[in-house]
């Protein structure tokens, strides 16, 4: 605190509170909408305060869906999203750890070549190669599978770079001491490197889980079979099916379901989440 100006502090708080409210407002409205019945949800003006239908709507969203849709709820989509997100997060972390270890700790031919190959993936988000990647996945028979949903997304460079950064900061003496103690490369990796990277791995897991859960374009392309849809796709399904007479209460409940796991992860693991974001953007 540089000067003691209570007025400025007060204004700051007010601005911040207004900011928080502005950001939170849409969520509030959504939550409210998810707690009313369909009838109330077509009466203007729509409600600003919650009703009592939360659990009924929840049940309907999970199991029954809405008129004009398939009559299936979105419960299974939650499962698909979960599997996909976990596969992406775990897969990415695993292969990135191995690659970063190899590139930082070994001198071998084509080392820099591999490094640049991995670097290139930073410049190729899935959106710029959708059709050819789709073709490859289709040719490999991976459409409509969990593998098809996750594998093409797990090789990108951000995780590898972050681990590389982490490994570079680990003191050289630890490897020397381990060598003198008789540890080979994989033993060093397992006993020393991995435990020391624990927080980074956790932080990255948080970020990647959210990234995986929220994937939209790629699952859209790769799944034609309704059973494989993810929850974020489910939102779009409902919006589409409801062109004429939207059942906003169910749509908003579905949206809440789609938002809940990632938001919960961010809120309960905030420290790790922030660390993950700031570490991967270096």
């Amino acid at each position: 605190m540089v000067e003691n100006r209570p007025m400025v502090t007060l204004i700051s708080h007010i601005v911040l509170i207004l900011g928080v409210l502005t950001i939170a407002f849409p969520i509030w409205i959504t939550f409210v909408a998810a707690t009313h019945d369909a009838v109330r949800m077509v009466q203007i003006p729509l409600p600003l305060w919650p009703g009592g239908m939360f659990f009924e709507n929840l049940e309907q969203a999970l199991l029954k869906g809405i008129e004009g849709a398939t009559g299936l709820g979105v419960g299974f989509m939650l499962l698909n999203s979960l599997v996909m997100a976990l596969m992406i997060a775990c897969g990415k972390i695993a292969i990135s750890l191995l690659s970063a270890f190899a590139i930082v700790y070994f001198r071998f031919p084509f080392r820099m070549g591999f490094f640049w190959m991995i670097f290139i993936t930073l410049m190729l988000p899935v959106e710029v190669r959708i059709i050819p990647t789709f073709e490859v996945v289709a040719n490999l028979g991976m459409l409509n599978t969990y593998w098809g949903l996750s594998i093409p997304l797990i090789a990108s460079a951000t995780a590898t770079f972050m681990f590389r950064q982490t490994f570079l900061t680990i003191p050289d003496e630890l490897l020397e001491a381990a060598r003198i103690d008789g540890a080979g490369p994989m033993q060093f990796f397992k006993d020393i490197l991995l435990p020391m990277s624990r927080t980074n791995i956790a932080a990255l897991f948080v970020i990647l889980f959210i990234y995986g859960w929220n994937q939209y374009l790629w699952p859209l392309l790769v799944t034609t079979d309704r059973d494989m849809y993810t929850i974020v796709m489910g939102i779009k399904q409902l919006l589409e099916a409801a062109e004429q007479a939207p059942e906003w209460n169910i749509i908003m409940m579905t949206t809440l379901l789609a938002m809940l796991p990632p938001v919960a992860v961010v809120v309960f693991m905030q420290k790790l989440f922030v660390k993950g974001l700031t570490e991967t953007e270096k």
């Binding site: 003496e173 020397e176 001491a177 003198i180 008789g182 435990p195």
Partner: protein, 360 residues
């Protein structure tokens, strides 16, 4: 326990830089050898070559009866204490010390015995064994690092500037502990430091390195009393030896510096008549003369009072080299005072101005 032999050891890096120019040393069993020198002189490189962390470009490295040039560190039966301790931060003290033994497949009971024994020697409590490194003080971490080396019961101990990261008081304390430890265990030790006080107090013999070349190898007192070169003379002793360009008299019995004259000792120096020399005198070897008729008078230019000593900076006659003398106790001396000094002739050092090597 084994002896260590370095035969014409050289090290050249891939970029062409020659770090070690040919070192020959035979370290006896149970000896405590200190590698000392300024930063960049190659002492750490040499140590790491003994350890196997750096490759030997030329020459033979032997530990015991084996030539170890191509052996991995783990196979050389050595243990190392690092400057930054290199403790595994996620393991507790016990596991840190046990790690090397675990990899070598020792039985759990044996591991526990060794760790407990080492902990006892190092005065680490059972409670400390369960702590992680970050919960320990610098001195405690240092002991754990040594413990890790002790439990291995190796042929050779290697120390890489282990006390550099400790504060001055702790350094003195740990120095004594290391010396006691080595005497108790009797394991051949090679110790690297840039601190000449550590070197002098710890080593049975010292190796002074300068830019990859061995300047002198000998006991601490040998290095102090008969330094082989200007470099060694200036490196050992603090404040360091005074050097000045001087000239010996025609009869070779005295050396002259700006009008002051110093008597040379008999039978020590050869070929000292009428030539340019580098004169070396240690600050502590110049004392106040009894009377006022000494041929060596120094004009004081700056006085420093340390309490136990007084340091006087000044010059002799017309010579303008800055000389320092150390007088015991407190002396009331002001700038500009003329001090009559005397020095025992045996304490005079002469060096060749070109080779900087000792004359005689």
């Amino acid at each position: 326990m084994a002896q260590v032999r370095l035969d014409q050891i050289q090290k050249t890096y891939p970029n062409g830089f020659k770090a070690i120019h040919g070192v020959d040393v035979e370290i006896a069993e149970g000896e405590f050898i200190v590698l000392v020198g300024p930063s960049g002189c190659g002492k750490s490189t040499l140590l790491r070559m003994i350890a196997g962390l750096e490759t030997v470009t030329e020459g033979t490295m032997s530990i015991g009866d084996r030539v170890v040039n191509d052996l991995e560190p783990a196979d050389r039966d050595i243990a190392m204490v690092f400057q930054n301790y290199a403790l595994y931060p996620h393991m507790n003290v016990f596991d840190n010390m046990a790690y090397g033994l675990k990899i070598r497949g020792l039985a759990k009971a044996e591991i526990e015995t060794r760790v407990k024994k080492a902990a006892e020697i190092l005065e680490l409590t059972d409670e400390q064994l369960t702590r992680k490194p970050r919960q320990l003080s610098g001195g405690q971490r240092q002991r754990v690092a040594m413990g890790r080396a002790i439990v291995r019961e190796p042929s050779v101990f290697l120390f890489d500037e282990p006390l550099s990261n400790l504060d001055a008081k702790l350094r003195v304390q740990m120095r004594v502990e290391i010396k006691r430890l080595q005497e108790r265990l009797g394991i051949t030790s090679v110790y690297v430091t840039h601190d000449q006080v550590e070197a002098m107090t710890l080593g049975h013999r010292l190796i002074v390195l300068n830019a990859g070349v061995v300047e002198q190898l000998g006991t601490p007192i040998e290095l102090y009393e008969r330094p082989a070169s200007v470099f060694v003379a200036g490196f050992i002793g603090s404040p360091s030896m005074n050097f000045a360009a001087a000239k010996t008299a025609d009869d070779g019995r005295t050396v002259q510096l700006g009008g002051a004259e110093f008597a040379l000792p008999d039978g020590i120096f050869t070929d000292t008549a009428d030539r340019d020399v580098i004169l070396g005198i240690r600050p502590e070897d110049l004392t106040l003369a009894a009377g006022n008729d000494s041929a060596t008078t120094m004009t004081a230019s700056l006085v420093e009072h340390l309490g136990a000593d007084t340091l006087v900076h000044g010059y002799f006659g017309t010579d303008r080299s800055d000389m320092t003398i150390r007088l015991g106790g407190f002396h009331h001396i002001a700038d500009g005072d003329a001090l009559a000094l005397q020095v025992v002739p045996e304490k005079i050092h002469l060096f060749d101005p070109e080779t900087e090597k000792r004359l005689g």
